[in-house]
């Protein structure tokens, strides 16, 4: 009946089915930029957020609301006990949550090409244990709160702590070390990190048996509290002693937190999962860019600076006395009606001695089998009528690397590098290896500026 009633309530339908999907799009779109590797990483937090929401705001608040509204009184006249009431609400919450999880999985697979890197049985176990644990949380709060307002206060305090300190929103490795240590005491951490370790690192569910056990214990104790402290009417108030007793609910988390911290490699494992995701994400980012014909870079898609700078790096004349400087920026507009271009600017300042200074920007890329045989590279440039040199360094050292000079003016113009430059000296396949395109400003001392765009194979 509870399920039927939810289906008839627009607000409940929204929060049960649509809201989690919105979160999936927010996480996958904003945080993961649609990058599959990152979507895989953030899928656990999305599922955990959904499970937490149904436990705290669905099941827990629903119980308090029914009591405050007086609708439990009628049930009290029937030959059913508090245990039946608690178990039936728990079951309804679980059955309502399953289709939502299915919807999340299907949406992530359909819209973000996310592979489900676990068996359906593993997913079911994670979701069941998680739902049970957070239902226990919601029911415990509902048991000790005398009013809706009181329940909201308890819920908010715990909700926000779990939301921001357990990897549900902010990835744990991005938090200060001491917060990561604290996160080991939070149940949401167990579910999030188990999901991530299984999805990203390919670990088995059994490797996270301890986390599952603690979540099961907390769910069971929540259920017992809800049963023993169940109140049919709002006039019945809970004693201070019972409230204090309910604090024992946190004991499993304290034990688990101490154990996880004592193990030592706690934060390292989380950081490793995160960096695995980041590396896979960068590789995919590169591949995605290449998916547009022969385009290597157009600077159009929203990119985090750190991702951009992984492929584009500045180098200068070096040496302790060098004074040359260079920096990269994304500017508007780009070439051929596009929105963005990469700006390489700085100042050439000779160091004392015979060598004149220089500043170079280096772009690392590789060719894939899809690109076919050796091909040339071209890019659009504009600048301040200063001389630049460009060359491509092969993956293996070569006796002499050809260089091309160009003097860009304020209009966009195309620079083409011959296909022979991307052929290996020994004639072997040039795919799968790393090449470096270097553009060098080494003319007379002074400021320089070069805009680059539409870097592609031709």
């Amino acid at each position: 009946m509870t399920i039927r009633l939810v289906m008839r309530t627009k607000v409940a339908l929204f929060f049960t089915f649509l809201f989690p999907i919105i979160f999936l799009f927010v996480y996958s779109g904003l945080f993961a930029h649609g990058n599959t590797a990152a979507v895989i990483y953030f899928f656990g937090p999305v599922v955990t957020l959904n499970i937490m929401g149904s436990g705290f705001w669905g099941l827990g608040m629903q119980s308090v609301m029914q009591r405050e509204r007086g609708s439990l009184r009628r049930y009290r006249l029937a030959p059913i006990g508090s245990g039946t009431m608690v178990l039936s609400s728990l079951l309804a919450n679980y059955l309502l949550g399953l289709p939502t999880i299915g919807l999340l999985v299907l949406s992530a697979m359909a819209f973000f090409r996310m592979p489900l890197r676990m068996t359906l049985l593993t997913l079911l176990v994670l979701v069941t244990v998680g739902t049970f644990a957070f239902a226990g949380f919601g029911l415990t709060i509902a048991s000790i709160a005398n009013t809706m307002q009181e329940a909201q206060v308890y819920n908010n305090v715990i909700w926000f702590a779990l939301l921001f300190l357990s990897g549900v929103t902010v990835p744990l490795p991005m938090l200060p070390h001491w917060i990561q240590r604290f996160a080991a005491f939070l149940p949401a951490t167990y579910l999030v990190t188990s999901f991530q370790a299984i999805m990203v690192r390919g670990e088995s569910l059994f490797a996270h048996g301890a986390e599952m056990l603690v979540l099961l214990v907390s769910g069971t104790s929540g259920l017992l509290f809800a049963w023993k402290l169940f109140r049919w009417e709002k006039e019945e108030k809970i004693s201070r002693r019972a409230k204090l007793l309910s604090l024992s609910f946190v004991i499993p988390f304290l034990v688990m937190g101490v154990w996880m911290n004592a193990r030592g490699n706690l934060t390292a494992a989380w950081a490793d999962t995160f960096s695995l995701m980041s590396r896979a994400s960068s590789a995919q980012e590169e591949d995605t860019t290449r998916a547009d014909g022969n385009l290597l870079e157009d600077f159009e898609s929203p990119q985090e600076p750190e991702i951009l700078l992984k492929r584009w790096q500045i180098s200068t004349d070096g040496g302790a006395t060098a004074h040359s400087l260079g920096e990269l920026d994304v500017v508007s507009p780009g070439a051929a009606g596009t929105t963005h271009a990469l700006r390489f600017k700085g100042r050439v300042e000779p160091a004392p001695g015979p060598d004149h200074g220089y500043v170079a920007v280096r772009y690392t890329f590789s060719l894939t089998p899809r690109d076919g045989g050796p091909r040339g590279i071209q890019f659009e440039v504009r600048g301040d009528s200063r001389l630049f040199q460009v060359k491509i360094e092969p993956p293996t050292s070569a006796p002499a690397v050809p260089t091309l000079s160009f003097v860009p003016d304020s209009d966009w113009q195309t620079v083409r590098l011959p296909a022979a430059w991307l052929a290996k000296p020994d004639g072997s396949s040039s795919t799968g290896t790393t090449w470096v395109l270097e553009i060098l400003a080494d003319g007379p001392p002074g400021d320089f500026k070069l805009d680059l765009d539409e870097l592609r194979l031709y």
Partner: protein, 310 residues
């Protein structure tokens, strides 16, 4: 269904219940026989709801003996709930539950249940079977609450203020439904603070005040035992002092309000004759005379000095 045994279906003896400093029940005693409609009449705060909730097993008495259908409500809750049906003062159900679903849901909680179709027809809810609870009027909600009380075909029905908050017409509709309980021989306990309800529906009434039973019997017995007698409402051509009317033969009491004299007389015929003789002797004239039999309200006022709805 009705208990064939003639012994009391409900037995309450020296029942006490206290909430903090408030003594809600101060030792009440009564019995309800099978097939009887028994009323607990009293003002708000008299202890009616506390009594009915103890009988339902929802509250524990501090002391005293309670037996319902041969069971102790505090110890044999589940078994007792199978045999009783109850209606709360205010029944709240989920907004989006349909009438038919509510009956089916609650019927599912019991080992045996009445026919849902029969209940829908009997309580005039057949046309509203698909309506959500939130869309029902006050009268329809109360009829649904009564139908829910019968969903397990109980031998004892406990109704807590079944018509409170309803207008006069809706109250009469509910009375007709409760009268059917009596026709079926179903034992019923109802609490009320409406005189009309107690007089019309109840075989016997216990009047409660401040947690005590101050009078008990059939409505007729209670009224006849009242020393106040029949009420005469009199309007005269010329004013007289109420004390002079009070001295007339068979007049028990007299008070005046806005030109109308309210006399209580026993027996009334002798008082009317004495009044006419008095008016002739005084050169006064009778403009209007209403004779109304005494009510339970009069009994309550006589015993407590207060009106029921004060």
């Amino acid at each position: 269904m009705p208990n064939e045994n003639n012994s009391a279906l409900v037995h309450v003896e020296d029942l006490h219940k206290r909430y903090g400093n408030l003594e809600a029940l101060r030792g009440i005693t009564f019995e309800i026989k099978p097939g009887e409609v028994f009323g607990l009449l009293g003002p708000n705060g008299a202890g009616k709801t506390t009594t009915i909730e103890i009988l339902e097993g929802l509250r524990q008495p501090d002391s005293g003996t309670v037996t319902v259908c041969g069971m102790d409500p505090a110890r044999e809750k589940a078994a007792l709930k199978e045999r009783i049906g109850a209606q709360l003062q205010a029944t709240v159900l989920p907004d989006k539950i349909r009438v038919e679903e509510a009956l089916e849901l609650f019927a599912g909680f019991y080992r045996q249940s009445a026919s849902i179709e029969m209940l829908l027809e009997r309580f005039g809810l057949a046309e509203k079977r698909r309506a959500f609870f939130e869309k029902l009027s006050g009268g329809q909600r109360q009829r649904l609450a009564l139908a829910l009380a019968l969903v397990n075909n109980p031998e004892l029905v406990l109704l807590d203020e079944p018509t409170v908050g309803l207008d006069a017409q809706l109250r009469r509709d509910i009375y007709a439904l409760i009268e059917q309980f009596h026709t079926e021989g179903r034992t019923t306990l109802l609490t009320t603070h409406y005189i009309e309800e107690a007089e019309r529906l109840c075989d016997r009434v216990a009047i409660l005040d401040h947690g005590l039973v101050i009078a008990m019997g059939t409505p007729r017995e209670l009224v006849q035992s009242s020393g106040k007698g029949t009420r005469l409402e009199v309007r005269l051509a010329q004013p007289v002092l109420p004390d002079r009317l009070k001295q007339l033969d068979a007049v028990v009491d007299c008070r005046e309000a806005e030109g109308t004299y309210f006399l209580h007389a026993q027996p009334p015929a002798r008082a009317v004759a004495a009044l006419i003789r008095f008016l002739e002797a005084e050169g006064n004239a009778l403009l209007d005379l209403h004779i109304t039999p005494p009510t339970l309200e009069d009994v309550f006022v006589e015993m407590t000095g207060r009106r029921l709805e004060e």
